[in-house]
């Protein structure tokens, strides 16, 4: 009796789960695109849905663009969903085919290493914007500019007091990003030129908002933020005397910047391509991208590859 019951229950459960699974396959979720044949109008009315997931830093931009995109009558048949979750999640999801677009702060080659290196080869990179980071310090600190060497000394724990880099006698508190963060990798690669460890007493926060709050409130704090987050609660510091301004970044004088990437698995399908082209179009690049504090990719006079080599 008991055994029979168990079997029945097990069966019911499996059927139930299977039903759950299949019901949704048929619903709408996996970004399956259905190109509803070319209507006899000039432009084919595309329909389908896209799922973009990944970097929380890039999320505001993609979200804003997706809203505009869906409001456009040309693309009324397409729905775009934008999720966060972090660059790693985005790359994982796009590489496994669960998301159509994977948003990432860094090159996939830097995330998929060793055994996973092949996964990066399958992905196609679309660089949609450039983001720059500036070193910020607490407002009480009298230092205006830090050299590369001074920054390295601070972030590797060699220098622990502001008086050694031209400030007052005050302890330095580092507000860093977690070691897995793309923002941190960019900062290490292009501002420090070396990897740095999380040293004793340093603070690691993943979110720009929290970093800004901590730098603003903790005496003697130093951190780094994307340009879009800078405001008057923190003080921006020059890097080797160069101010983190757009024209310095465009000309390559200010090196601490990175591309924001949208990855697709293989060449993008029709719907994804339409969306990415829209993202790269001038009306978006010169409006929303700039509004959100990024720099349009087309403006850059220098280029970089995954290894960090710069070409003019």
């Amino acid at each position: 009796m008991k055994k029979v019951l168990l079997v029945v229950v097990a069966l019911m459960l499996t059927i139930g789960l299977a039903a759950c699974g299949s019901k949704n396959e048929s619903s709408n979720n996996n970004g399956g695109t259905t190109n509803t044949g070319n209507a006899n109008t000039g432009g084919a009315a595309l329909s389908g849905s896209l799922l973009a997931a990944g970097s929380t830093a890039l999320q505001p931009l993609v979200e804003q663009v997706s809203k505009k995109f869906m409001d456009d009558s040309k693309y009324s048949g397409i729905t775009v969903q934008v999720q966060g979750g972090g660059s790693g999640t985005g790359l994982t999801q796009v590489s496994a085919g669960q998301a159509d677009l994977g948003n990432s702060d860094i090159f996939a080659e830097e995330k998929f290493v060793d055994a996973d290196a092949d996964k990066a080869k399958e992905l196609v990179d679309h660089q949609v914007a450039v983001v720059a980071m500036a070193t910020v310090v607490n407002k009480e600190i009298a230092v205006d500019s830090l050299t590369k060497q001074q920054l390295v000394d601070i972030f590797t724990g060699k220098v622990t007091n502001w008086k050694d880099v031209g400030g007052k006698d005050q302890k330095i508190t580092i507000v860093n990003r977690p070691s897995s963060s793309g923002t941190r990798k960019t900062f290490e690669k292009f501002a420090l030129g070396t990897k740095s460890e999380d040293i004793q007493g340093s603070i690691q926060e993943d979110s720009s908002g929290t970093v800004k709050k901590l730098v603003a409130e903790t005496p003697g704090a130093i951190g780094y933020l994307a340009l879009s987050y800078l405001d008057d609660t923190v003080k921006t510091v020059k890097y080797d005397g160069v101010e983190p301004k757009e024209d310095n970044i465009v000309s390559g004088k200010y090196p601490v910047w990175a591309y924001e990437h949208v990855y697709t698995k293989g060449e993008p399908n029709e719907v994804a391509k339409v969306f990415i082209d829209y993202l790269m179009s001038d009306e978006i690049q010169n409006a929303d991208v700039v509004e959100l504090g990024y720099i349009p990719v087309g403006k850059m006079q220098v280029k970089r590859d995954a290894a960090g080599n710069i070409t003019k």
Partner: protein, 312 residues
């Protein structure tokens, strides 16, 4: 009046007749049994699935990435993104234990006091004011707790004690408020379940109320009180968002309570999204999740043990 059964055969016949009468009930009973058993099975299957998935991901570290369990549990250095990746989770384990222990130390006396007030001193006011207040505390979301911690607790600690204000102390204070309801509720149940006879006897012998409380009431209900504290601790152990905002997340064993530290949950929330599934770093994070899971079981067994002592 029934005659005693002449022989077994007659008895069986009556029983059969009786069974025929309850036939509709049989179906009814069966429906109830099947339905409730199904529900319980869903619970069991859920747990099994969670344990299986977390284990299967968390054990990968040891099988394919060649990290030893002892190395993970006793290593002091956590640098997964370094040139030589190091996975030492001891600082996190230390941080988790110290924050939850400290939180329990703060919350236990408060909770027991509140329970004594509600059951022994002024039940009227207790029921009308204190109990709703405690229940409200349970309903405040952890996101809000974290934000209040960062805006109020951290600056206060920074002003009073040397150090950065963030760290184990701030984490413990925020957590102690979060687990106060758990401890208080269980303590109140235990104290109100105490038989009145014991107390009456103590009063009859001329003991004051306080003597009765600390010589009779508390010792007799001690196992239940401890159960509450342990359950509270286990909740503190698993809390993620609120702790991550106020603890600082430096992967080192701190020199003081006011220096940046890390817990298992905080490092998981920070890095999980930024790492790709299947990479060594990501697997190591799953191993930390597995440690959390194992700890949950340990806490439950401690509770069981305490309850067995109580029933003796």
């Amino acid at each position: 009046m029934e005659r005693p059964a002449a022989n077994d055969k007659h008895f069986v016949q009556t029983a059969n007749r009786a069974r025929k009468v309850v036939k509709p009930h049989l179906v009814e009973e069966w429906v109830g049994k099947v339905y409730t058993t199904l529900c319980i099975l869903v619970l069991v299957v859920t747990i099994g699935a969670i344990v299986y998935f977390v284990s299967s991901r968390g054990l990968t570290t040891f099988f394919s990435d060649g990290i030893s369990l002892s190395g993970l549990l006793s290593g002091l250095k956590w640098d997964p993104e370094g040139d030589i990746p190091l996975y030492g989770a001891l600082p996190f384990i230390f941080g988790s234990f110290s924050t939850s222990l400290l939180a329990a130390l703060i919350a236990a006396p408060l909770g027991v006091c509140a329970a004594v007030f509600m059951t022994q001193i002024m039940p009227g006011i207790g029921k009308r004011i204190l109990q709703p207040v405690i229940e409200l505390l349970a309903g405040i979301p952890s996101v809000v707790f974290g934000f209040v911690g960062l805006s109020v607790v951290v600056p206060a600690l920074r002003a009073i004690f040397p150090g950065q204000g963030i760290g184990i102390a701030a984490g413990a204070i925020v957590l102690s408020l979060m687990i106060l309801p758990t401890i208080t509720t269980i303590a109140t149940d235990a104290l109100s379940g105490l038989s009145a006879g014991l107390k009456e006897a103590s009063y009859a012998l001329g003991a004051t109320r306080w003597q009765t409380i600390y010589r009779i009431v508390i010792p007799t209900t001690l196992p239940s009180l401890l159960t509450g504290v342990v359950l509270g601790m286990s909740r503190a152990f698993g809390e993620a968002l609120a702790v991550q905002m106020v603890i600082g997340n430096s992967p080192h064993i701190p020199h003081s309570l006011f220096q940046s530290a890390s817990t298992l949950t905080s490092v998981i929330t920070l890095d999980m999204g930024n790492t790709v599934m299947g990479s060594a770093h990501n697997n190591a994070l799953w191993s930390l999740a597995l440690i959390l899971l194992a700890m949950t079981f340990v806490f439950v067994f401690v509770v069981r043990f305490l309850e067995r002592r109580k029933n003796r």
